[in-house]
Amino acid sequence: MDRQGVFESINHALLYEDFNTVFHNLDPRSKLLYIVLTIVISMAINSLTTLISILITNIMLLALHRTLLKKFISLLKGLSLFISIIIIFNVVTTLIFTEMSIVDIVSTQIKSIARVLNLVIAILILLTTTTPWQIIQAFTKIKIRYTYIYPFIIALRFIPIIFNEMKNIYDAQRSRGIEFEKGSILNRIRKSIAIIIPTIVCSIIRAKDLIEAMELRGFGYRKERTFYKPIQFRKIDILFITTISTIYLAIILLFTSISNLF
């Protein structure tokens, strides 16, 4: 049941849905710019308060739409186990191998969580409100050949499909009496082969079909490509980018000046 929950929540969170938000109406290029801004700032800055403020800004962006917030929560649920393992690992290893104080360790951990979450939110907003086709068009506009980007985009699109397939495989194997929840860790890892191998085989078959279908419909026929509906950089995009940059800048200025005061 647990495993199924993880599949489902991640799957659900990353899926593009046509629920019409402000972000759906944005040019994919502005969303890409927003991701770049968020990543650069999160990585460049090492102040706890600044990182937390940026995280709060991002969460408020999500909060503009309840569906997005729900997706974020369900993604957190899915990743919670993974994240907590990493945190525990980090804390334990730093405690053993360095002489940092507990307070420092905790603050470092919170900072890295804030960084990861900033990244996750930005990407979540892009993926759930932008179709891969729009992203491809955005990249083509900056002169990157479409045949190079398609593989990444298809990989992204396949994530939910493969999760779904894994769930069916998991069910089929449980029906044969494999108990994935029982036994030692080593044993469980050994059992997971029963899911991994069929998943790989089915994915390869799927990929082969897809490649054939794409080639036969003219994929890679020419170096260039047209788009049936152009993306447009509009007033709302300018507004969005200006707002985001202003907020980020304000946060940075505010906290660096405060810290300089003391």
């Binding site: 489902e8 659900h12 899926l15 593009y16 849905e17 046509d18 179709t131 891969p132 086709w133 398609y150 298809i154 699109r157 939910p160 499909i161 397939e165 069916n168 495989i169 069910d171 089929a172 194997q173 449980r174 029906s175 044969r176 009496g177 494999i178 108990e179 082969i193 029963a194 991994i196 191998i197 069929p198 085989v201 089915c202 078959i205 799927r206 079909d209 897809l210 054939e212 279908a213 794409m214 080639e215 036969l216 419909r217 003219g218 994929f219 890679g220 026929y221 020419r222 260039e224 490509r225 047209t226 788009f227 049936y228 509906k229 152009p230």
Partner: protein, 571 residues
Amino acid sequence: MANKAIELKNITYFYPNTSAPALENINLSIDYGEFIAIAGPSGGGKSTLCRIIVGLIPHVYGGSLAGEVYVDGVNVVDKGIKGVAGKVGIVLQIPENQIVNLIVEEEIAFPLENFLFDIDTASKRLEDVLKDLEISYLRYRTTNTLSGGEIQKVVLASVLAYKPKILILDEPLAHLDPYSVRDLLTLLYKIHETENLTIVVIEHRLTELIKYISRLIVLDRHVIVDDEPRKALLKIINSGFSRGIEIPPISKLFSMIKTDFPPINIDESIEYFTELLNKDSIRCKDSAIHGENKDVGNSEEPVITVENLWYVYPNGVAALRNVNIDIYKGEFIALVGANGSGKTTLIKHLNGILKPSRGRVLVFGKDTSRCSVAELARYIGIVFQNPLHQFFKETVLEEVIFTAKSMGVRNADERATSILKAFNLHHLGDRSPYEISVGEQRRLAIASILVYDPHIIALDEATAGIDFSLKMELLKILIDLVRKGKTVILATHDIEFLTYAPINRVIVLNNGEVIAQGPSREILYNDAVLAKARIAPPQIPTLINGIGIGGCIKPLNEKELYLYIKSGIDG
């Protein structure tokens, strides 16, 4: 200037690392504007032929190809896929795997963009094809929320958008429910008539298809039959080449009665029937064809009880609504319904993979909400639709031994060997489960469940994608199980298959509700119920109802009807 749409000359082909040819000395020419069906058994080279025509062979698959291939005048062997892309469109076997984009209109525009259509032309083509295929309502939907029939139409639209001269479909009907089959075929016929498009359909399910085609080709490594549909059917029936091909039951019936002009649609057959036989001569003899279904042990406790079962998916969609079913020991049950009616969801409740949102399911008196799947699996074995979802061992034998061991069967090795023998798979014991044929994989999937001898066995859509002779092979296995006192539950939309099976009870699902249950003669003759469940009735019952003697005799398949007619004539 080319005068043939497709021309194959002396084609012989070997897949890489094989010593037996997949196709041998094929000569075939197809004119513009023809609507052709290519039938044949699984492994007879149908898909191979299709790959040769579009240039996937030899350009992607390798192997050795001898002979010449011309498509719209282009030498495919020389020019490759790019030489024919744009002239020929293809819909592959599993259309779901063919989808690249997330939004329906993006998917349809995909080839237009590749072929560098400008915005105005692309939008116009998009509009037109949406209208032609009557799928404008799908335009902004995400492709991962579509039903099987819808996906197929979207893929078809994406291909037709660039107006190829030739359209090829590889087993388009395999995974569709009967209504979607009719829907797709009428659509294809319409396009064929209005656009004068050359269509080649590769398919062994001929029952619905044969009405529309202009020529039927049978392929089993060689071209065995190549003729107009009626003559081809006669040749197939008379020569015993029917292996693997699903011939319409009405055509089989009339070939048994010995007419040399087999009807291929219901209206014709009704006319024929009335001509051949005096309707009044059919007397209502209760015995032979009426209710010889045995009633199975209602006195006993049911082995499965489903009580007020509701299941609601996390997204809020109710997949099952207040389902109540009792299943008794030794019953052979068919669970029918269109795609999306809740069959798979119900099956997944039987061994506790899914737990009821409301109500309960009891298996041998055990409440499934309180038992683990492994515990319930001892009583009920489930064979899912895709055999590839369960194979992960290196050999066929290990695959079976694995289940036996994980279910705690004593002398697992012996059991595994004997079940492989029973399923005629023992000679494949050390082969990889991925190397064997589709039919063998299907049998292996069933064998690896039956090895631990569960009391109940449930199969989900077990006939999807396998040819007629494999279906009959499967049926034998199932009948044998029932004879041994096992309870068999078969979830399917393959309604013609049911007419050959000694089903005790048909349960009809529609939209998550049980709308009818009863003996097959009752249900398969109930047009109203079937229509409500979006299932097309099988041919022989349609014929009998069409003549208006459904109240008198109720044969399910052509053999029963033939025997009845014979006994009527003889005395």
